[in-house]
Every structure is written in structure tokens, then in C-alpha cells.
Symmetry: C2
Subunit: 289 residues, 2 copies
């Protein structure tokens, strides 16, 4: 049998409609919606740029390397999402606080480790000296009416002055260095002793670092303390307090900076860097009575 030429429609880009139609059988309606949209946008991207075989394969290899860079303490796909602004977009869609007075959120990033040690009011998170200026971050956790929230939890983590988070340096820093969970007192006050935040580069030894270089971008994050703030009855908040002294407030490589989250780490009379910062939590919406 010789070949019979097929109808042109088979050669065209009708494959998109075919895949979307095939996905119509997805039992879960939300998964169906997400998958059909993902396919349409993925195909629209490939069609718009007329992706070549070689470029397609380079993309396959890039994604493969990104997955293979991940382990228990390294999340290269989150880093990719962060550097492409996707994390900030998702955050903006789900945690917009423009009108409700609550503190803005920002991205989680790849370095959060759960179960940090509980620490006392004002206790230092420094377990290993990597240099840096001693600092205090303190203030209150409030509700949207300005009333203090007692017993709120602040789960804080930051990089050391040597630029690395403890999780990145298991052979140098103790695993809980510069990490800690604090509770607010009866007046809603908290106090975290640590080191002044320093700018740091995102990990550049993987595929994301390579992409950052190839796209002519720098790899620096603006100096910040990273925090999750939570209390019963309130929406959990993942945010940063940025240091107003950072050189990268306008060009943070993961698009995480919001002006409302910038604080001054001012020198006090005892030579300590002190930043006062209040967090305002939004009351949790109850979906039914």
C-alpha cells in the first residue's frame, strides 16, 4: 500500500482543539478548566514564536534539568516561577490588600523550612556567627481596626551576612540558624533579634541561574527578613520586610518588592540596627455561617 495524502486539516494546528476536546472528559471541573487553559496557552505560545524542533528540545532539557536540580532543600521550579514573576502574579491575585488595610504579602521563595525553633520575645536567632550588623525587628501584630492580636505567631527566616540561608549551607551553619518562631505578647508586640538583612544572589549554579545570565539579568534579591505571620481567625500572611538600604529595591530579581514592605533599619544609640514594623492581618472570611 502506498501512502495516501491526508486532508490539510490534519496538518494544520487543529491539534489544539483536539487536545482541548479530549480533556473535556476530565471529571473534576476545576482540573478540566486548568488543563484546557494550560493547553490553549501552551499551544498559543508555541504557535506565536513558531517554536522549532531544536528549541522544543532545548525547552524539554531545561525543564528536565530544573526538576533534577530539586531535592529536599532546593526547589529550582519555585525559583523559576519566582524569576519569571509567576509567583508574584499568583500572590497578587490571591492576596490583594489594596483596600482592606492589611499588610501586603509577597512570595514564599524556595528557602522556607517548616518547624523552626520557638524563641522567646527578643531572643536572637543567631546560632552561628557569619558576621553582619546586630539588629532588632520589632513592632505589633494588629487587626484591621488597629487592635493588637495577642498570641499571633511570626515564623521568621533570613539569610546570613555571608549571603546564604542555613538550608543552603548544611556544612557551615546549624540548620536552625537565623530561623525562629515568635509569639506576640498580650499587647500584640513582638521582637526578633537577628542581623541586618543583606542583599543576596539567588542560586546561580542551576538552570535558572544560567537562564538569568542568558537573559542579561542580575541575580540579586533586595535585602529582607522573610516572615509568615498567623493568628487564629485571620488570614495567614507570607511577607518580607525589606531593608530601605538595599541597592536592589527597584530591580529585585524575583519581582518581590512592594513599597509598603520597606522598613528602615536605623542605628540606635547603642549601635544596634532597629526596624519598627507593624503587621496587620485580615480577618478570615467565613464562607458560611
Amino acid at each position: 500500500m502506498s501512502q495516501i495524502k491526508s486532508a490539510p486539516v490534519e496538518h494544520g494546528f487543529g491539534v489544539t482543539d483536539e487536545v482541548v476536546a479530549r480533556l473535556e472528559a476530565t471529571p473534576d471541573p476545576r482540573l478540566r478548566e486548568i488543563m484546557q487553559a494550560a493547553v490553549r496557552h501552551l499551544h498559543a505560545f508555541a504557535t506565536e514564536v513558531r517554536l522549532t524542533d531544536e528549541e522544543w528540545f532545548a525547552g524539554i532539557m531545561f525543564l528536565t534539568a530544573t526538576g533534577q536540580m530539586c531535592d529536599d532543600v532546593r526547589q529550582e521550579f519555585i525559583l523559576l516561577s519566582d524569576t519569571l514573576g509567576l509567583s508574584t502574579l499568583v500572590d497578587a491575585m490571591n492576596h490583594s490588600h489594596v483596600e482592606d488595610l492589611a499588610t501586603d504579602s509577597t512570595i514564599l521563595g524556595p528557602f522556607y523550612v517548616p518547624e523552626s525553633p520557638w524563641r522567646e520575645f527578643g531572643e536572637s536567632m543567631v546560632e552561628f556567627d557569619c558576621g553582619g550588623e546586630p539588629s532588632i525587628l520589632r513592632g505589633r501584630v494588629l487587626d484591621q481596626q488597629g487592635a493588637p492580636i495577642a498570641g499571633a505567631v511570626l515564623d521568621a527566616w533570613q539569610n546570613a551576612a555571608n549571603r546564604f540561608y542555613a538550608v543552603q549551607q548544611p556544612d557551615v551553619q546549624p540548620p536552625t540558624n537565623l530561623r525562629g518562631r515568635y509569639r506576640t505578647d498580650a499587647d500584640g508586640r513582638y521582637e526578633i533579634r537577628a542581623v541586618r538583612p543583606t542583599d543576596y544572589p539567588i542560586p546561580s549554579d542551576g538552570p535558572v541561574g544560567k537562564l538569568i545570565k542568558e537573559t542579561g539579568r542580575h541575580e540579586w534579591r533586595a535585602a529582607h527578613m522573610h516572615l509568615k505571620v498567623s493568628a487564629d481567625g485571620y488570614e495567614p500572611l507570607t511577607t518580607h520586610v525589606f531593608d530601605s538600604g538595599s541597592a536592589f529595591l527597584d530591580s529585585d530579581t524575583v519581582f518581590g518588592v512592594k513599597r509598603s514592605l520597606v522598613g528602615d533599619f536605623a542605628m540606635d544609640s547603642e549601635g544596634l540596627r532597629v526596624c519598627e514594623f507593624d503587621f496587620v492581618l485580615a480577618r478570615q472570611e467565613t464562607s458560611d455561617a
Copy 2:
């Protein structure tokens, strides 16, 4: 210092424009075009479905698992691309032969292994008996004017009747079972002895298999012999010859079937399944004289 609310624009979805602007510094214009388009479509997808934090994280974990499923002989990202129809779309854009009479191409798939053993005209690729009906695939390799191409190479690979490719079963099949490279003779003829193709499921033990199930799809590929056909001065062709007896010609899970690529594996007088199939190669375009 208390927080200062930032301007609404920072909270909006202006992050897309910011990322696209940042990518403007990409030195290579083609990489710039691809990355900017990728960001726009990725953000448009997330915005359209209002991706939640949990869904974003599920996506991160899915992509991570997909990368980690890959190894020397398993390419889960190609499988993902195949099952989402992206591979077929890229193939259609780059190898459309609607008007030029050349044989249609179709997807490479995840099971190709280079450097298959050279085999004689009519030699069998069966090195290990996994059952199945003995078969012959034979015909000619032609140019677009119908003239035979001598010395063309056909690099063939197929699954065994137990549904697996040799590369999937290193403990059962010899690595070169059902793989082989053949050359056309002076008349452009080739002859490959093997087993009649059988339908087979794509690997279902990874994240892609899980997604296929969750989207209510079956995991079957339509029975086929997989081939790369090449000759000096002609565009290399990656294609399949599908078995007209397959139950999945209309629902191949990777959208690879083209009607022009379906052949009959008819029973001959000696009880052998024989399929006659001619391949037509397109002359390579020379970009300059």
C-alpha cells in the same frame, strides 16, 4: 516605622509588563522573543484561571516530579509534551508536507535510542522472542518526483508484543531488540523483518500517567513502527507507520496519528504479516547557493 500602603498599580497584575520589560536586556534576539512570549502566555494562563496558591504549588510539585522521573532511558517531559499535543503541534509547524508530496512526519516520542545496530536487507530485528505475529515492512524510499533513493537510511524501533520497548525492559529484552538501521538498495528498496505492531500504553507509573488518569483519558498509543528516514540532500524524516488494525487510530493518546501514515499489515500466503509502505523525502532546502 509603620507600613505605608503602596499604590494600587503595584498590587495589580502589572507584574507581567515588568517581567517582559526586564527580559528586554536579553542579548540573543530569538531567546528574548521566546522568553517574553513564554512569560506573557504563562501569566495569561494563570490570570485566566485565577490560579490559587495551592494550585500553583501543585503545579510546582507536578513539574518537579516530572523532571525527577527522567533518567537516561526515561523522558517524562517529552511524554508530557506528547500527551498535551505540543509535540504534534511543533511537528506540524516545522514539517508540513501538505503540498510537497513528501511523507508526513510525526512525533519522536520518548523511546528513541541512537546507534541501533546496522542490519541487512530483510534481516529480522527480533533478538528476543516476546511473542507477536512475524511481519515484514517493505517498500521504497523515493524523492518527490518518484525516483528511488539508493543508500537511504531507515532507523527503525518498535515495542515488543508484550507492549514494552527494549529500553523499558533492560532486565528482559536485549537493548537492541526490535531496533535496527537499514539501507535502501540500488532500487531504493528496503525490507524490515520484525513483529506486527501492537497497541501499547504509555508509561503510567509517573506524574504524566497520573495526569492522564485524572483527566479521564486512556493511555493507549495506536500500534505503529517508528522510523527515522534520511538520505544525503534530503530533509530527515521522523515518522510512524500505523497498523490499520489498531483500535486507537482515532484516539491515540499523544495525537500522533495521521491518516497518510496508516498501512495494512495483510496476511500473505505464508502466514506472514506484510505491509508495503513507500517513504517520500523532501529535498533539503539550501539557504544559499
